[in-house]
């Protein structure tokens, strides 16, 4: 049985300078109430690993607007002008990764691999400063594994054993992030006694604690 706690309690151990992964693609499948609690706690100098920085006033975007992020590892910042502004002023160090590379780096960490060989970005600035390797005549970039202290992820249904299932396009990067952090906190739309094992997307082994979303979920 996993611990079921409040958002505030779950994120209370995240300290200044921690690294966090945050699930979601734009505002779909995001642990919004965990983020709100982190904004409230006002933890600073975070390293944030996420697919994008959403919009200025929503979920991941709030952590940028509230100046809590020092280093950002992501794939796209175009939907949040504040991220670009802080990048240009030197406040945030932004590392842009191709989406597939970011996902596989995280997956590698979670799977205990020493990195991945990605064809993506060969012949571009993504290749700069990295080792390359030829495999069967094709050039690849060596990309290192990427993990974090905490992963804040979303789940549509989570059972008491920490098993997670998803609805629609909400699973996105949540699944890989669940495997690659020292501590994984899942925000659940709904907590149930048991999920049919056939429908489990993230097995409970990866989850440390569960937070029930308080606000009403739209369009169930």
């Amino acid at each position: 049985m996993k611990r079921i706690v409040s958002a505030k309690e779950a994120i209370s151990e995240i300290k200044d300078g921690s690294s966090i992964m945050v699930g979601g693609f734009l505002s779909c499948g995001v642990p919004d109430e965990l983020i709100d609690a982190l904004v409230e706690q006002n933890t600073k100098n975070l390293t944030m690993i996420c697919n994008d920085t959403s919009y200025p006033n929503t979920d991941k975007g709030k952590l940028i607007v509230n100046h809590q992020v020092k280093k950002l590892v992501t794939t796209h910042i175009g939907t949040n002008p504040e991220t670009g502004k802080q990048m240009n002023s030197g406040e945030i160090d932004v590392e842009l990764n191709p989406m597939g590379t970011l996902v596989e780096r995280i997956r590698a960490k979670g799977a205990g691999l020493g990195g991945v060989l990605a064809p993506t970005g060969v012949g571009t600035i993504i290749e700069q400063g990295k080792k390359t390797m030829e495999v069967d005549g094709k050039k690849y970039i060596f990309e290192k594994p990427l993990g974090a202290d905490y992963a804040l992820i979303y789940g549509t249904k989570v059972d008491k054993y920490g098993n997670v299932s998803y609805y629609g396009t909400t699973r996105n990067v949540n699944t890989v992030m669940a495997t690659a952090a020292d501590k994984v906190i899942v925000q659940a739309d709904e907590i149930v006694d048991e999920i049919n094992p056939n429908e489990v997307v993230i097995p409970g082994i990866f989850v440390d604690c569960i937070v029930k979303k308080e606000k009403e979920v739209q369009n169930v």
Binding site: V94, L96, Y167
Partner: protein, 225 residues
């Protein structure tokens, strides 16, 4: 002098309509954000093209608005969409496996610059405009066909160039360039002008690109109606 014979709407329509002719029944296609998204509107009703997106939906249907909107089903642009019959949801690792792994038949995307070798720049103008690449780099190297659908110039500034000066999205991966003025094919290793909008002359094309190109023996007119 910059020619302004076409409205913004007509320009987009010509490009999207032309790009929609590139698919065959059963193709799995990933569309970029913006103009390329409009390509879906011109697929003939009797043709089954399956649209894929990196946020986790294969079988994207029409845009949903009003009370039927479900924020848990979106496309890569963050717009609520319908999941069509036969659709599937998946995570980002699976999405990028489709894209990088050679499982997508064609992609249509916009660009800031394309050059005569087929290299494409689409994700940043240093110190000015840095949205990031998202899934575009994976898609361009992994997709079986890469179709660039873009306005011919950026308010008069040349986009089809000899060599890209902006940071690349991918090196030598573009197969076809479709603009409102012409179509260039790159599938044979050279930049070949295959179609021209009858509103423009060959000189207009020459003056509006800096890339060296060859004119196809059977140069055709684009359908602009």
């Amino acid at each position: 002098m910059e020619l302004t014979l076409l409205s913004k709407e007509k320009t987009r329509e010509i490009i999207a309509k032309r790009a929609a002719k590139e698919f065959k029944n059963g193709d799995v296609v990933t569309l970029g954000i913006g103009l390329p998204t409009a390509v879906a509107d011109y697929i003939p009703d009797n043709m089954n093209v399956i649209f894929q997106s990196e946020n986790g939906l294969l079988g994207i249907g029409k845009t949903i608005s009003g009370e039927n909107m479900d924020p848990r089903i979106i496309n890569a642009g963050g717009i609520c969409v319908e999941a069509k019959k036969g659709a599937s949801f998946y995570d980002a690792a699976t999405a990028l496996t489709m894209m990088r792994g050679g499982h997508i038949d064609a992609t249509v995307l916009g660009a800031l610059q394309v050059d005569e070798e087929g290299s494409i720049a689409s994700w940043m103008i240093p110190n000015k405009f840095v949205p990031g690449m998202g899934g575009a780099m994976d898609l361009v190297i992994g997709s079986k066909r890469v179709i660039v659908a873009m306005e011919h110039t950026n308010k008069g500034a040349v986009k089809i160039v000899k060599k890209c000066t902006l940071p690349l999205t991918a090196y030598k991966e573009v197969d076809l360039i479709i603009t409102e003025r012409c179509v260039f094919d790159l599938s044979q290793g050279i930049l070949l002008l295959t179609e021209i909008n009858p509103m423009f002359t060959l000189d207009d094309i020459k003056e509006s690109v800096t890339a060296d190109f060859t004119v196809a023996d059977n140069l055709k007119y684009m359908d602009i109606n």
